[in-house]
C-alpha cells in the first residue's frame, strides 16, 4: 500500500517536471528522431546503406530508431535514480527524505517507473510509425514487441542502477563521475554498437549488464533469428543478473545514506 502511494507521488513529481517544463517535453518527443537523424547523417557520409543492411540485417533507419528508443528507455531507469540524490541535494529536499521513515529501497525502486512509462508512450510515437512505414501492417505488432522488450530491459536496469547510484553518490563531486558513467553504459548496453564487435574488456563488462541481453534479443528479433530457447536463455540470464544485483543495490543505497549521515546531511 505504501509503495503504491510512493509510486503515485513519484508519478506526480516526474510528470510535473515534464509537463510543466515544456522544453523538456519537446526534447523527449524529438530525441529519437534527432539521434537517428544525426547517426544516419554520419553513417551515410562515410558508408553505404547496403553494407549496413548486409552486416546488421536491418535497415539503418529501423536500426537507429530502435537503438535510440532502447537507449532512451534504459537510460530512463539509470538517469532518474542516479541523479536523485544530487537533485534532492540541490532542491534542499535531501534532509527531509533522509529524516523520513520511508523505506529507501521502496523509494528507489519506485523512482524510475514514472519516467519509464512516459518514455514508453513517447517513444512509441517514433517506433510505431517507422516500423509501419518499413514493414507495413506487420510492423505494428513488431513495434509493440520491441517496445515491450525495451520496457523489460529498462526494468532489468533498476537493480544495477541502484548499485551504481549508491557507489557513485558516496564519491565527492559525484556529478562528474555520473557524466562519465552514463556514456559508458550507453556503449556497454550494445544498442548502437553491437557487443559482438566490442573488445574483450568491453564484452565482459557488457555481459554483466542484465539489460544488454534484452538488447541482444531485440536485435536478434529484428534480424528474424530468434527461437524459443534463445529467447528464454537471454531473458533467463537477464532475470538472474537482475536478482543477483538486488541485494547489492539495496546495500549500496543504505551505504550511501550511512556515509551521508556520518558526514552530516547538508542543507544550508
Amino acid at each position: 500500500m505504501w509503495f503504491i502511494e510512493i509510486l503515485r507521488v513519484e508519478y506526480k513529481l516526474v510528470y510535473a517536471e515534464m509537463f510543466r517544463r515544456k522544453s523538456m517535453l519537446v526534447m523527449m518527443f524529438l530525441y529519437p528522431y534527432v539521434l537517428t537523424g544525426f547517426t544516419l547523417f554520419i553513417g551515410y557520409s562515410f558508408g553505404s546503406k547496403q553494407v549496413f543492411v548486409e552486416k546488421t540485417g536491418v535497415a539503418p533507419e529501423v536500426f537507429m530508431i530502435t537503438a535510440s528508443f532502447i537507449m532512451l528507455s534504459m537510460l530512463a531507469s539509470i538517469d532518474d535514480m542516479i541523479w536523485k540524490p544530487l537533485m534532492d541535494l540541490w532542491h534542499g529536499t535531501l534532509p527531509y527524505i533522509i529524516a523520513s521513515p520511508v523505506n529507501r529501497i521502496m523509494l528507489y525502486a519506485a523512482i524510475p517507473i514514472p519516467r519509464l512509462t512516459a518514455v514508453m508512450i513517447i517513444g512509441s510515437t517514433s517506433v510505431i510509425p517507422v516500423y509501419t512505414l518499413y514493414y507495413g501492417l506487420n510492423g505494428f505488432p513488431t513495434s509493440l514487441i520491441v517496445i515491450g522488450l525495451a520496457s523489460l530491459g529498462a526494468i532489468f536496469m533498476i537493480t544495477p542502477a541502484m548499485v551504481v547510484t549508491g557507489i557513485v553518490n558516496t564519491m565527492g563531486e559525484s556529478w562528474r563521475v555520473i557524466n562519465v558513467i552514463r556514456p559508458i553504459f550507453m556503449i556497454l548496453l550494445g544498442a548502437y554498437y553491437p557487443r559482438i564487435l566490442m573488445p574483450l574488456a568491453g564484452l565482459i563488462a557488457s555481459y554483466t549488464l542484465p539489460s544488454s541481453y534484452v538488447v541482444e534479443l531485440i536485435q536478434a528479433f529484428l534480424r528474424n533469428v530468434t527461437n524459443t530457447s534463445n529467447v528464454l536463455s537471454l531473458i533467463g540470464v537477464a532475470t538472474a543478473l537482475f536478482v543477483i544485483y538486488a541485494p547489492g543495490g539495496s546495500r549500496s543505497i543504505l551505504l550511501w545514506e550511512k556515509k551521508k549521515v556520518k558526514e552530516g546531511v547538508k542543507y544550508d
Binding site: 500500500m1 505504501w2 502511494e5 510512493i6 503515485r8 507521488v9 506526480k12 513529481l13 510535473a16 517536471e17 510543466r20 517544463r21 532542491h91 534542499g92 529536499t93 534532509p95 527531509y96 527524505i97 533522509i98 529524516a99 523520513s100 521513515p101 520511508v102 523509494l107 549521515v261 556520518k262 558526514e263 552530516g264 546531511v265 542543507y267 544550508d268
Partner: protein, 328 residues
C-alpha cells in the same frame, strides 16, 4: 511525564580539509559540540541560541538523525537517535530552512502530498491533514495552495515548511530558524502557531533563532550555546538576572529647572545625567544596580522640590545583552 528530547554529553568533531595551495591541503579539526546535555519537555518551547558556528545546527542535525555524534546520547520520545533512527524519524516534525526544501515544479499542495507519502500517511489521512494545515496556516488565503513552489514568496515558503513539519502530527518539532527573513506578519503567525502547538497540542519544540525578541516571546526556556558548550540556560527572566548590568531609570519632567534637578539628585545617586528633550522636557537618567531600592526616594525628592513628573521608565537588560554577555 518523561522528557521529549534528552541529550547527554553530546560531542561532535568535524574534520575539515583546509586548502594550502593548488594541491596541498591540511586537515583541520573543528570541535562543534564539546559535550552538551539538555532536556526538552512536552508542552515546552526551548530556544537554542548562539552565535554563528556555536553548534546549534549540529545539535538539530543529531536530534533529527541527520548526523551521527562521535559520543554521547540523544533520545527523542524515548528512542535513541542512532540505534533507533527510524523510530525517531516517525516522531519528529522538521523545519530546516525556509528558502529550499521543496520541488519547484510541484504546487504547495502537491509538495505536501509528496512528503505525506514518504511519511507513510494513507491517502485519506494525508488529504485530511493537508486540508487542516492549509486552513490553519492560511495558505488558501494567500493563494498558495495551487501555486508552483518556485513562484512562492518567502512567507509562503515558511508556512509551507511549517505545514510539512506538522504533517505527521509528531510529538516533537525541530525548527531551525523558522522565521529567518520573513516579513513581520508571517513571522508573527509562525510564532503564535509554535506557541499554541506547544501549549494546546502538548508538543515539545526545539527552536533555534538569532532573533532575541522572538526568543523572548516564544521560548519557555533558553539554552545559550557557544563554542560547542551550553553556557547558560533558564527562562528569559532567569537569564537576564544572571548578568551583572546596571539598569537605567529614565524620568521625564515638565517645567523643571535642570540645575535645580541636579542639586536634588546629587546627594541621592552616584551616576546620573540631566538633559533636555526635543519637546522641551527635562530627561533624567539614573544608572543603578538596584532600581527598586532608590526609585521611591528619587521620586519623592523630585516631587518635594516641585518637579512635575510626566513619566518614569526602568530599562531592564534585554536578552540581547544576555546573549552578548555569554557569547564573549
Amino acid at each position: 511525564m518523561p522528557s521529549a528530547i534528552i541529550t547527554k554529553n553530546l560531542r561532535k568533531v568535524y574534520r575539515v580539509k583546509k586548502r594550502l595551495g593548488l594541491i596541498k591541503s591540511q586537515e583541520e579539526i573543528v570541535e562543534a559540540l564539546k559535550g552538551i546535555s539538555f532536556e526538552v519537555k512536552y508542552r515546552e518551547v526551548v530556544g537554542l541560541l548562539g552565535p554563528n558556528g556555536a553548534g546549534k545546527t549540529t545539535t538539530i542535525k543529531i536530534i533529527s538523525t541527520l548526523l551521527i555524534p562521535d559520543s554521547g546520547e540523544a533520545y527523542v520520545d524515548g528512542y535513541d537517535v542512532v540505534r533507533q533512527a527510524n523510530e525517531v524519524r516517525k516522531r519528529i516534525g522538521l523545519m530546516l530552512t525556509v528558502e529550499k526544501g521543496f520541488y519547484g515544479k510541484l504546487t504547495g499542495k502537491e509538495n505536501l502530498e509528496y512528503f505525506a507519502a514518504l511519511y507513510g500517511l494513507s491517502r485519506s489521512e494525508a488529504e485530511r491533514r493537508i486540508s487542516h494545515l492549509i486552513k490553519i496556516l492560511e495558505l488558501d488565503k494567500l493563494g498558495a495552495v495551487d501555486k508552483l513552489f518556485e513562484e512562492y514568496s518567502l512567507g509562503m515558503k515558511a508556512r509551507l515548511s511549517i505545514a510539512r513539519a506538522l504533517l505527521k502530527d509528531s510529538p516533537v518539532l525541530l525548527l531551525d530558524e523558522p522565521t529567518l527573513g520573513l516579513d513581520p506578519p508571517s513571522a508573527r503567525k509562525i510564532r503564535e502557531l509554535v506557541k499554541s502547538l506547544a501549549k494546546e497540542e502538548e508538543k515539545a519544540v526545539l527552536y533555534t533563532t538569532h532573533n532575541m525578541f522572538e526568543a523572548e516571546l516564544v521560548c519557555d526556556k533558553i539554552l545559550l550555546i557557544n563554542k560547542g558548550l551550553i553556557v547558560a540556560e533558564g527562562s528569559p527572566d532567569e537569564l537576564k538576572s544572571k548578568i551583572p548590568k546596571l539598569r537605567v531609570i529614565t524620568i521625564t519632567l515638565r517645567n523643571s529647572e535642570r540645575v535645580r534637578v541636579g542639586e536634588v539628585l546629587a546627594p541621592l545617586v552616584a551616576t546620573y545625567t540631566v538633559t533636555g528633550s526635543e519637546f522641551g522636557e527635562t530627561v533624567v537618567k539614573v544608572s543603578t544596580k538596584n532600581p527598586e531600592e532608590i526609585l521611591g526616594e528619587v521620586i519623592r525628592a523630585l516631587v518635594a522640590c516641585g518637579c512635575d513628573i510626566s513619566s518614569v521608565r526602568v530599562e531592564e537588560p534585554t536578552l540581547e545583552d544576555v546573549f552578548i554577555y555569554f557569547s564573549q
